[in-house]
Symmetry: C2
Subunit: 291 residues, 2 copies
């Protein structure tokens, strides 16, 4: 439920100038206006599910993306039924200046790449079909020019080898492992709302640098409500973060009854210390490890 | 376009506990939360037209009305196509705890009564079919007990006569004019957005106690934009108010380019002195004249 001081849950992910929006409830475009993020740069919108608080702002958002001057396609990604539902909503925004591309998810195997981000949907457990999203940026091993020199590999092949491709030159075959250092950790970001906790979520988010997860209720006495409404308590989210061995957990999607999200934070931190209460327009930048 | 400090144009009308909402753009429910008006009491929603900024907030509003405990029907009123468009939007809010009643307007002759308010739609001139609304509360003439006594009318008939009905008792026929004073002015409120000005609007709003009208542009240099986009300037709205001999004009539906709505106010006031710039959650109470 959107409140005057708390907007509906949504998330923007930016990588090399490309922007992915996850969910778009009523008012998402309004709070986004307070950030310095570009509407025109939104290349794709992923939906977790089709409840009004996660998709109701789509017509207005698309109109605003159009007003910002976008003419390139926008890709929409979500559970089955996406096209039918979006076409229903777009009866009130019929003349967009850019095409829409629909991508309906059938299962977790439907991983896809979008502008260098590998997006893997994973199944959540809600009242309707719902997906979480794991987004990974892979990082190539470091190129080692001194080894390339030792092996007398022509400089013209360095770039291709650096990008992980094998080169054949007459009898000579140069493989990336000849010039690349050890594997390097990339970045992983995961997002999950609305859902009950389950082991497969902890697996899907394993090792994430940042896991944003719903924490509908802080008060452990709301456990029964969480179960009935297919949501999570802070403690359940913290257990997922712990079991998934993530680096950091942000809580979000608070119930309107949760006036002060910090109130029950210690209960979650007792399970997963690096639990942070999400708030409107909270931002961070994830960076590759050095070197 | 909804802005962080300026919500989309909408209007609540309350009469004897019944509430009529006119238009419901993205975020209308959020700004409404800052008022003390009841969601549960919304009996009807009138739409001027089906552009996203006037109806995009409907799914969330209906969900919130449901959460507020309403089980009585909500009547939706708007141009032809209303049912089809609302059903498209409601794919994301499928399980409302109250029934919806649809009333599609064919023309200005489709006046209707809703809880004592006489609502008369009038045709606007926009890029799509669009209506303004004139709402009147009629006032019965004053009952004059001294005349009823003089004429020896039995007290049991007074109430019925007071309500304007004729009573027959044997040979005796009592008519309301026997006991009622002169006609009394009622209340009239009119709302018009989005539209070019035209004479029939001035006629429809004639004599209104309050006329809320779009003033998309203050700057007279935007006259051409107003014409192209089928909107009005402040001066055009003021001319309608003057020609319609209304008591008071509130401007609304400002362009995002109009940062300070007071800037061009004097230009409108030169035409219609009682022009007031509307702002978020501006309220007034219209009262019958004494006695």
């Amino acid at each position: 439920m959107p409140l005057p001081n708390r907007w509906l849950t949504a998330c923007l992910v930016r990588y090399e100038g490309h922007v992915l929006l996850i969910d778009c409830g009523e008012g998402t475009q309004i709070t986004m206006r307070r950030t310095n993020w570009s509407f025109k740069a939104i290349d794709a919108i992923c939906f977790t599910h089709f409840h009004g608080d996660h998709i109701g702002g789509l017509p207005g958002m698309l109109l605003t993306i159009g007003n910002a001057g976008r003419t390139e396609p926008v890709r929409l990604i979500g559970p089955k039924g996406l096209k039918r539902i979006v076409e229903g909503l777009l009866l009130i925004a019929p003349d967009l200046p850019f095409p829409l591309e629909y991508q309906e998810i059938s299962g977790p195997e439907d991983a896809f790449d979008i502008y260098g981000m590998e997006v893997r949907p994973f199944r959540a457990d809600h009242r309707v079909v719902c997906y979480g999203y794991a987004i990974e940026i892979h990082r190539l091993p470091k190129f080692q020019p001194e080894r390339a020199q030792e092996l007398q590999i022509p400089i013209k092949y360095w770039k291709v080898l650096q990008q992980g491709q094998t080169v054949t030159d007459g009898d000579m075959v140069y493989t990336p492992d000849m010039v690349l250092g050890p594997a390097r950790k990339g970045l992983k970001f995961c997002y999950c709302t609305d859902s009950r906790p389950k082991a497969s979520i902890a697996e899907a988010v394993h090792g994430a640098d940042l896991f944003i997860c719903e924490g509908m209720y802080g008060d452990p006495e709301k456990q029964q409500s969480a179960r009935e409404k297919k949501h999570m308590t802070y403690q359940e989210a913290a257990r997922l973060a712990r079991d998934g061995a993530v680096q950091e957990l942000w809580l979000t999607h608070y119930s309107p009854s949760l006036v002060n999200p910090k109130e029950y934070l210690e209960l979650a931190q007792a399970i997963f210390p690096n639990t942070i209460p999400g708030k409107d327009r909270k931002e961070t930048t994830l960076r590759f490890e050095e070197p």
